[in-house]
């Protein structure tokens, strides 16, 4: 039989092209070369002759050294002796080898993230969300997921330091006693406390005790990213302490004005899943909410938008006013008309030719859903005036009312307990006035690094006589400059409490004793408030111990005692019972902020809006610089977290750095290189007397003449004086651009291109799909007309059934069953379990929570910036971010001017009458596709193909199939040929080029062997990781891979196997309970099936929008069977049909992937499509097939 040859089908002419990088879009020679390499990652090492020679010489030197070392090694050829260290005294609940789960919360500014923490013999290793908590859907964001690693960070605060010199706890306590005596004499004159914005009732109570003891003491609150606009606006428009909680689930129309509400750091009460629940599109014709986003750069929220318009951050007021006018006109709301008229605007603004129609249709669509089904959200970084006017719009739309048939309004107003505190500005004034002599900083914030420049905080702090810093990180500028630096505790090792965003009293309980014996914030405040000397205090006892009641009261952790005291006042009924329940559930049931009963004050809206200072739109001579929180480091506090550093940014795909994002048009104007490979152009930005040099990333969909840069990077210092081994030298500090705390954008920036390049690691071209499109998307209308559009059009429509090159017949024994699946693939003989996964692209927002959860669960190493640049990132789940543009006949037009061939005329015609508009968008220039592409995301991991291409090429059978449908990777068999990775059509396999887990990834100068500057390249001679503490984070049920083996997604096989084993044990236990003797025990195959949907993968649990569904395809009731369908598994007569949106990627290959996807659905506004040809081209034809 001749070999069947199946060429990859020729690319068909398409009207829409999906691409990850501009190099891919324009098909540059560099991009082609990169994808054409057999082993792109390896080949990059031999880029030129000189390098190659160098590598060979290094190799010979290394081999010589290694051989001689091997000789020494043989001398001690003995069985290594290992020890077992059991407990001396048994620990309650601990079963060695079994995980224990405890509820806690991660405190954050303004709320908390509810968690269930996995611990192994007392070591926290993994976190997941707490479904019992009303604010959680059981998911966890990436920051929280990665916070486990922070606990074990070898560079965290470990010593008490006085003036930078190591001290001890006893010395500090002695100092504290003496200092308190001094302060008491002056009634606390000169004492100031600076805290962060975590709403902790116990801390608040302790602060009150401190101020009671020292009546003249003052409390200040500071967060580097303190979004004051919303707070000021609600305070004036509604009343002090009022917060606005959006209920997305009841909303039909949502407008975001620069509000990235899907961003995950801020505790947002399960926002993502609630928003998604309004647009699941599970059946054709299902109602979906509609999202309009106005923003300057692509954000996760913008990516989910049904309609998106690029608007400069500084020009958002103009859009708000236009929207307010339109809404006021339609609703006849006179006060809103007045408020909109009160705003004094500077010049006109027209971000796109169809701007007027866009705003008009948006407003009309909002008004159509008024009365509790529509809302407008303003971005937290927007000023109070915008928030006030938006509140006016919301009032006019009736967003504060409860719609018929609903239980909550679109925007619920709650009355929070006020926690008065001064601002950092007020503190700075007090310091300048000389009225502060002692400052205690009990906060994760780092004002010496991130305070607004106008305060000159670093100098001010030096002028304070005594500064005590209590913090988990002491490698910060603030801690270093402090008189006393007290090591704080991580939230996983301390007692505490937090009011969640909606006011649920949530408990922080420790998982482990403080690893390095730190002092928690509550303990510090207790010490400060204590009336008796603290220096004689005994050490706190184990946190588990207080539960058995045997520990004397005075030796208990002061944090614990303080929380108990707060709790006793709150808990109803029997306190001990309530406490046990609260510890179990992680919260006190029934606690919530009360509803705010007042009404909007229209006069305040007009006053606030009228006080707005508008600025003209940016031009090419005066750029706008937008400063945003980093999607990984937030305000910079996670800088030493390797997981977060290496996680690609959701939009720009940059790792280990921040960069300036620019639009394609602006980059072209400036003559910058659009095709980022491993080096990026730099840009010098001068604004407000400050200047920074940053690498550039060209970001389609960005506003023109505007630059977005993330804050939090570039923390100065090296070695012990730096932010830590991981964060050292990463990124550029742009905090100096901020003159005041409220500055989130700066106008009038001058940019120059110095022509230098810097290395920048982005992953957007890694693991590329060679133009084979994995994405399917359509509109709600299309879904209603052709529900199965994802599988019936394009290539998918003419694939022969059961076609595969990778036949598996006869590769395994156990044949016998016939029919259905077993006829063709007898290797899948398990009749109880067949695993599969479905990822709903309609719900996926591209946030990376799944990747981080996978990293934490599966011991995935980080590799460092240099290794990422050469394409060796290890994440098992990669998040592909595609931009989509319309093209003519699948080709770019000459000169790559991605113009609207047919619409530009219409636009130009319409633009004539508006040709006088100001702003950076000259109407003479037609709109280009790349100005305004669509964005879609898709997570891709191993697809567990039934006929897996990787398995057929492995020479040593290191990757084989299991009977229950898993594509197994057997590390101990793998010899590292990488054939499998090469043959994987999804590029889902990762290779351990080095001992990333074991050896430090450090660049060394003048190392002993002088063989290679990078420790990794020294192979077995390289230094081991300096600190073993990171090992404590590892999941003991997953192999820690070594150098030279391939790894990839396993569908969390450790969880599957544990569940199977449990099921086998349960069967026996149930029989015993039913009185069946072992002798008469019968176990059917059915008994051994794991109960429906009880095994969940780490990514599935972490997904904030519940986009990932995993389960047993042999079970018709499982969620995955209902989405994917299982007729191919169990036979036509027994199975269930797939969801209409379900499709397999690269189906024509015939690999039969077990992971399938649900096509994405957009819900455009038909009226807007009719009114705007641009939106029609952009959204109306959303589709992709291959």
């Amino acid at each position: 039989m001749s070999k069947r040859i199946w060429e990859h089908p020729a690319e068909q002419p398409k009207s829409r092209k999906y691409f990850r990088s501009l190099g891919e879009l324009d098909d540059t020679p560099e991009f082609r070369e990169w994808v054409a390499r057999e082993f792109p990652q390896g080949a990059a090492m031999m880029a030129d002759e000189a390098d190659a020679g160098q590598s060979r010489r290094d190799f010979m030197k290394l081999m010589g050294a290694a051989t001689s070392m091997a000789g020494f090694g043989l001398a001690s050829c003995r069985r290594p002796e290992s020890r077992i260290l059991p407990y001396s005294k048994n620990v309650e609940w601990v079963i060695p080898g079994k995980a224990l789960y405890y509820a806690t919360v991660m405190p954050k500014a303004g709320g908390c993230t509810p968690l269930v923490v996995t611990t192994f013999e007392g070591r926290p290793t993994h976190v997941q969300g707490n479904r019992l908590h009303p604010e959680s859907n059981g998911s966890v964001d990436g920051f929280t997921q990665a916070s486990v690693l922070d606990l074990y960070d070898p560079d965290r605060a470990r010593d008490f330091k006085q003036g930078g010199k190591k001290s001890t706890r006893d010395e500090f306590l002695a100092f504290l006693d003496a200092h308190k005596a001094e302060l008491t004499a002056g009634a606390g004159q000169g004492l100031a406390l600076l805290v962060d914005a975590v709403p902790s009732p116990t801390r608040q109570r302790l602060l009150a005790r401190v101020t009671a003891k020292f009546p003249k003491a003052q409390v200040f609150r500071y967060e580097a990213l303190d979004f004051d606009g919303a707070r000021v606006a609600t305070e004036q428009v509604f009343g002090a302490g009022v917060v606005q909680v959006p209920h997305f689930s009841v909303c039909e129309k949502i407008v975001s004005l620069d509000c990235d509400f899907l961003d995950l750091h801020r505790p947002k009460a399960g926002t993502v899943s609630r928003f998604m629940n309004g647009r699941r599109a599970m059946k054709p014709g299902d109602s979906m909410n509609r999202l309009y986003v106005f923003e300057s750069r692509y954000s996760l929220t913008g990516g989910m938008a049904d309609h998106r318009l690029r608007v400069h951050a500084s020009q958002m007021m103009k859009v708000t006013v236009a929207l307010a006018r339109a809404v006021a006109a339609a609703t006849g709301d006179a006060s809103l008309t007045a408020a909109a008229a009160a705003v004094k605007l500077e010049g006109s603004y027209k971000p796109r030719a169809d701007y007027d129609a866009f705003v008009a249709e948006t407003a009309a669509d909002l008004v159509a859903s008024k009365g509790g089904r529509a809302m407008v959200l303003a971005g937290p970084q927007q000023p109070a005036a915008v928030h006030a006017l938006v509140a006016g719009i919301n009032a006019a739309l009736g967003a504060y009312q409860v719609a018929a048939g609903q239980s909550v309004p679109a925007l619920e107003l709650q009355q929070q307990e006020a926690a008065p505190a001064g601002t950092l500005e007020a503190l700075a004034q007090a310091v300048q006035a000389g009225s502060v002599t002692t400052l205690a900083i009990v906060s994760a914030a780092d004002p010496c690094y991130d305070a607004p420049t106008s305060l000159k905080w670093a100098d001010l702090q030096k002028s304070i006589k005594t500064v005590v810093h209590v913090g988990f990180r002491d490698r910060t500028a603030t801690a270093r400059a402090a008189t006393w630096s007290v090591p704080g505790t991580h939230y996983l090792e301390q007692w505490g409490d937090v009011r969640s965003m909606s006011g649920v009293y949530s408990i922080v309980q420790p998982m482990i004793m403080p690893l390095l014996g730190g002092v928690s914030d509550l303990e510090f405040l207790s010490l400060l408030a204590s009336d008796t000397p603290v220096a004689v205090k005994v050490e706190p006892v184990a946190p588990a111990a207080p539960m058995n009641g045997a520990v004397p009261e005075e030796s208990k952790d002061p944090g614990y005692l303080a929380v108990r005291e707060t709790f006793a006042a709150l808990a109803p009924g029997e306190v001990e019972v309530a406490w046990s329940l609260a510890l179990r559930d992680g919260l006190l049931a029934g606690t919530r902020w009360p509803a705010f009963t007042g009404a909007l004050k229209p006069a305040s809206v007009a006053t606030l809006a009228g006080g707005f200072q508008d600025t003209a739109a940016p031009t090419k001579d005066a750029f706008e610089v937008t400063l945003v929180p980093d999607s990984k480091l937030w305000d910079g506090r996670y800088i030493n977290n390797a997981w977060l550093q290496e996680m690609p940014d959701s939009i720009s795909k940059v790792t280990w750095d921040n960069a300036a994002l620019l639009s394609v048009r602006t980059a072209t104007e400036l003559g910058l290189d659009k095709y980022l490979r491993d080096e990026a152009d730099t840009l010098v930005i001068e604004v407000g007397g400050q200047s920074v040099t940053v690498p550039v990333i060209v970001s389609p969909g960005h506003a023109d003449h505007a630059i977005t840069i993330a804050l939090g990077y570039g923390q100065a210092g090296k070695g012990a004086a730096g932010p830590g081994r991981v964060g050292e030298g990463t990124g550029v500090n742009v905090y100096p651009l901020r003159a005041t705390a409220a500055t989130y954008w700066l106008a009038g920036a001058k940019v120059t291109v110095p022509g230098t390049k810097v290395p920048l690691a982005t992953t957007q071209e890694h693991h590329t799909m060679y133009g084979r499109e994995l994405i399917r998307e359509g509109t709600a209308e299309r879904f209603a007309e052709t529900p199965a559009f994802a599988t019936t059009e394009g290539m998918d429509s003419h694939i022969p059934p059961d076609y595969t090159f990778y036949k598996q017949e006869g590769r395994q024994g156990q044949i016998g069953a016939t029919g259905g699946l077993f006829g063709t693939t007898p290797h899948l003989w398990d009749k109880q379990h067949q695993w599969g996964m479905v990822i709903d692209l309609n719900a996926c927002i591209g946030c990376h929570s799944c990747s981080l959860a996978c990293q934490s669960e599966n011991n995935i190493p980080t590799v460092g910036k240099r290794q990422v640049i050469i394409g060796r990132d290890m994440n098992w789940i990669r998040m592909d971010r595609y931009f989509a543009v319309d093209v003519e006949g699948g080709k770019a037009t000459e000169g790559k001017e991605w113009e609207y061939a047919e619409t530009s005329g219409a636009v130009a015609g319409g633009a004539d009458e508006n040709s006088d508009h100001a702003g950076g968008h000259g109407s003479a220039e037609p709109a280009r596709e790349l100005d305004d592409p669509e964005m879609v995301v898709q997570p891709v991991a191993c697809q567990h193909c039934e006929a897996a291409p990787c398995e057929t090429v492995c020479p040593v059978n290191a990757t084989v199939h299991s009977e229950d449908g898993l594509n197994l990777m057997v590390y101990n068999r793998c010899i590292g040929t990488r054939y499998c990775a090469n043959n994987c059509p999804w590029k889902a396999r990762r290779f351990n080029y080095f001992d990333y887990n074991k050896r430090a990834n450090t660049e060394r100068e003048g190392s002993l062997l002088d063989l290679h500057p990078n420790n990794l390249y020294l192979g077995p001679l390289g230094e081991l990781k300096e600190d073993a503490s990171l090992r404590l984070q590892r999941n003991p049920n997953v192999t820690v891979r070594m150098r030279g083996v391939i790894e990839k997604c396993t569908y969390c096989i450790q969880r599957i196997e544990a569940a199977k084993i449990d099921q086998k044990k349960t069967t026996r236990r149930q029989a015993a309970a039913a009185g069946v003797s072992d002798e008469n025990l019968t176990v059917t195959a059915e008994d051994l099936r794991i109960p429906t949907d009880t095994v969940k993968t780490a990514c599935q649990l972490a997904c904030p929008s519940d986009a990932i569904v995993f389960g047993n395809l042999r079970d018709n009731n499982s969620a995955v069977s209902k989405l994917r369908g299982n007729k191919d598994i169990v036979g036509d007569e027994h199975g269930v049909d797939p969801h209409p949106r379900n499709y397999q990627t690269l189906r024509y290959i015939g690999a039969r992937p077990r992971t399938s996807y649900l096509a994405r659905i957009k819900n455009p506004n038909p009226a807007l499509l009719a009114a705007s040809p641009i939106e029609k081209r952009k959204v109306g034809q959303a589709s992709a097939h291959m």
Partner: protein
């Protein structure tokens, strides 16, 4: 051209070395019989043999967890606070109780880090301790009884009948009933309990 005897000699010696290594450098020879000295001269022969203590008194979580836990010192102390408390042999135990430091037992059986053996599923499905650990109740010092190589595991996974026994006899290391056909019993139990020991790699390698 080398003389023939050199060629033959080299081939013979080479062959013998190869054969020797492949035969003797296997777990059957490198592991079996390993009998390290323990910090406390604990005798399984006295406790499990003469006194007839059940394995699960000390290895208490063997039916629950993948690990058959080595007991906490507290478990020793349950009895030894009354029995032979002052014996010099128990000095380390007393010390451990007083200081809270662990007794550093030497590991006898060790599977590689990439292999995940689970005790609980075996003892709950009729595989006795004795099949892997030998007659521990007759050992003064615990000794490595079986090779515990992968092929040895697979031998039983492919044909478990000879090893299956009633669940109440799992910790009875001396169980050797007269007139019982182990093969027939095993076949019956295998069928009744639906035992299909996994043979795919993922069962142990994760």
């Amino acid at each position: 051209m080398l003389p023939l005897w050199v060629i033959v000699g080299v081939l013979t010696i080479g062959g013998m070395v190869t054969a020797g290594v492949t035969y003797y450098f296997t777990p059957k020879y490198t592991r079996v019989g390993y009998t390290p000295s323990q910090p406390v001269a604990f005798s399984h022969r006295i406790h499990a043999g003469q006194l007839g203590m059940d394995c699960r008194y000390c290895h208490s979580f063997v039916e629950e967890s993948g690990h058959a836990n080595v007991p906490a010192t507290q478990t020793c102390w349950n009895c030894h606070q009354h029995v032979k408390k002052d014996s010099p042999n128990l000095a380390k135990v007393v010390e451990s109780i007083e200081t809270g430091e662990a007794i550093p037992w030497v590991k006898v059986h060790q599977v590689p880090d990439y292999a995940y053996f689970d005790h609980s599923v075996h003892v709950n499905r009729g595989v006795s301790c004795v099949d892997c650990h030998g007659r521990v109740d007759e050992m003064t010092k615990v000794s490595h009884d079986q090779p515990m190589s992968m092929s040895w595991c697979l031998d039983c996974h492919r044909a478990p009948e000879q090893k299956l026994r009633p669940l109440d006899q799992v910790t009875n290391l001396g169980w050797n009933p007269e007139n019982v056909d182990r093969q027939a019993l095993g076949e019956r139990l295998k069928k009744a309990w639906n035992i299909h020991p996994p043979e795919s790699c993922g069962a142990c390698h994760r």
